[in-house]
């Protein structure tokens, strides 16, 4: 028996079917906003990937060597591929570049997860200097989720630039430690470090001790504004929240100012998306100016990636039954194919049963409720649920998918 390697799984049945439909719907929707399909290479050069990925994600890449002797890794990040593509194919006057994709990414899992691979569907908006691009991408994300029937999905907004701005007065080692502790969800250690660091002013200390607890609905921003000294610190998040509220998503927006992710990568608003208020994480994204700066571009970029599998699970896939089961019996095979082609033209779903024994063929059909069994040999159709027969086969061609 052939098993898949640990950490890998083959997906079939209704889940695979739902993933495919989700992929098609999402990509068609992104295309309507002017996002062009992007098909990145499955391998990435190790050097560029190591340089651009945050440390914790670098530790998880799956490295290998190509037959040409180049150190590579299985694609760990689509943004890096998009940036590399943009920098080698487009001049700054061609910006912005809008890309969408549905591709696999590979990385070593962190416990208790075990999957080495995941298929993500997402977009990248590269090279545009305006908060409008943040709003475009986040609004498009919410509209896409609506289109997929996930109208109870929730977006959690944070801002990766807030904490570094609060830490500017601190020595690098302490600020790095604080960032890592918050990123790891080690709030106890974070509080301890804040309390013990002499370099932190009493005013900053109060803000930092409060930061992880500033979570909730969009009204959290007003609460935060009272605590923060800077009037501009919350502007990008406020703009985004305001836009989402105006677009009708106020009830589906959460704010988490303690939400920190990959700080040497993201540099502005970041977000996670969940299937519902008590649902699963579907994916996330954010603005990543830092990576672009490394690629010698001084402009912002924003994108998101959603797990196609999680999206499909959230959509609750249902088993699909073909409308028609064709039984040719002993008539020439090509006659069955010709009849089937008429069903293709009519848009009726079907499968052909090549079982020679009529009883076995009927039994096979009866295991698929809701369908019609068509006996091409004797020229009649039978509705499986009722057993009602008719010799007029024309109605079969009118059954829609």
């Amino acid at each position: 028996m052939n098993l898949t390697p640990r950490g890998c799984s083959s997906i079939g049945g209704e889940l695979a079917s739902c993933m495919e439909k989700t992929r098609d719907t999402a990509l068609a929707f992104f295309a309507s906003y002017g996002y062009n399909p992007f098909n990145p290479a499955e391998f990435q050069l190790l050097e560029g990937t190591m340089k651009n990925l945050p440390r914790k994600r670098r530790d998880r890449i799956i490295a290998l060597s190509t037959p040409f002797g180049e150190p590579c890794c299985l694609r760990a990040d689509i943004t890096i591929s998009a940036l590399s593509y943009m920098s080698t194919h487009y001049a700054p006057e061609d910006f912005p570049l809008r890309l969408c994709y549905a591709e696999r990414i590979f990385s070593a899992p962190t416990p208790p997860k075990e999957n080495l691979e995941d298929t993500q569907v997402g977009v990248e908006l590269l090279g545009w200097e305006s908060p409008g691009s943040d709003v475009e991408v986040v609004a498009m994300l919410m509209r896409a989720l609506d289109r997929l029937g996930l109208d109870e999905s929730v977006i959690v907004l944070g801002d990766a630039s807030i904490l570094p701005q609060l830490l500017t007065e601190l020595p690098a080692d302490i600020s790095e430690k604080l960032i890592e502790q918050l990123q790891d969800g080690a709030y106890c250690d974070f509080m301890q470090t804040v309390r013990n660091a002499d370099a932190i002013t009493p005013e900053s200390r109060d803000i930092l001790l409060e930061l992880p607890w500033l979570k909730g609905g969009p009204d959290v921003l007003a609460e935060a504004q009272k605590i923060f000294r800077s009037s501009t610190l919350l502007t990008p998040l406020s703009t985004l929240c305001g836009a989402l509220e105006s677009l009708g998503y106020g009830g589906r927006v959460r704010v988490d100012l303690g939400f920190i992710r990959d700080l040497n990568y993201y540099r502005g608003p970041i977000f996670n998306v969940y299937s519902s208020n008590d649902g699963d994480l579907l994916g996330g994204g954010g603005r990543y100016d830092g990576t672009l700066a490394d690629a010698r571009f001084t402009c912002q970029a924003i994108g998101f990636g959603l797990s196609l599998r999680e999206l499909a699970i959230a959509r609750k896939p249902e088993p699909e039954t073909p409308s028609v089961i064709l039984w040719p019996g002993d008539i020439p095979h090509e006659r069955a194919i010709l009849f089937a082609e008429e069903l293709v033209t009519a848009g009726t779903s079907f499968i052909i049963s090549w079982e020679p024994d009529i009883e076995k063929a009927r039994k096979f059909a009866h295991n698929r409720p809701g369908a019609w069994w068509v006996n091409l040999r004797d020229g009649y159709s039978e509705e499986i649920a009722t057993g009602e027969r008719t010799t007029d086969l024309s109605h079969i061609k009118e059954l829609s998918r």
Partner: protein
């Protein structure tokens, strides 16, 4: 309904005391018997083996949990540690015979290839790695103090409460590596999505802990 996971065993008493002190309903929890899922007012308590608690939280079976940070650190799962209750204090340490202790006084190269008996396999490996030493780990789930005496290991890596068991087996604390106590942990998604619901519970526990400390 908010679900809180609690470790069975010796920490459970402390957990019930904390929850009761914070004003959470604990009547059914105190009389749980062999039940592993206990409903008490708007709360549901899950009783599990301590090592399973971080997984129950990270997988979303529980919103919150009380568990030792030794267990959470070893599990390496993605949870948020939001409060140190200060209960169940002990520490994580390398312990061994006085002869082995001498090796720790010198250069880190003296530690290369050290055989370390522990049930905290990941934490031990990570700790020695941070020191720059590559060790061989012997995974034992109980009576680790036996390993040096039987010649199976040079030292042990374990939690120490009173040090009584170490002393009884001729071992000494060589290096204290981390403070351990009962912590309140939370599921990351729950914290992002349902903080408005969880906040009251967390604040109540935080207040009880602060009052008890002062």
């Amino acid at each position: 309904m908010t679900t809180i996971a609690l470790p069975t065993g010796r920490s459970l008493g402390d957990c019930v005391e904390i929850l009761k002190g914070a004003g959470l309903p604990t009547e059914n929890l105190s009389n749980a018997g062999r039940h592993l899922v206990v409903a008490d007012g708007p709360f549901r308590y899950l009783l599990g083996k301590p090592t399973d608690i971080p997984t129950l939280v990270s997988q979303g079976a529980a919103d919150l949990a009380l568990v030792g940070n030794d267990v959470t650190d070893e599990s390496e799962v993605d949870v948020t540690e939001i409060l140190d209750t200060g209960r169940g204090k002990c520490f994580m340490a390398v312990a061994g015979t006085p002869e082995t202790a001498v090796r720790f006084d010198g250069h880190v190269t003296n530690l290369m290839g050290l055989r370390v008996a522990t049930k905290y396999v990941r934490t031990a490996s990570r700790t020695f790695e941070e020191w720059g030493a590559q060790i061989r780990v012997l995974n034992l789930n109980g009576s680790v103090e036996l390993a040096p005496a039987l010649g199976l290991a040079n030292c042990i890596f374990d939690i120490v409460q009173t040090g009584g068991t170490l002393k009884a087996n001729g071992l000494v604390v060589i290096r204290r590596t981390a403070e351990v106590s009962l912590r309140l942990i939370a599921n990351r998604s729950a914290l992002q999505l349902r903080w408005s619901v969880l906040r009251e519970t967390v604040d109540a526990i935080q207040k009880f802990v602060a009052d008890a400390t002062n």
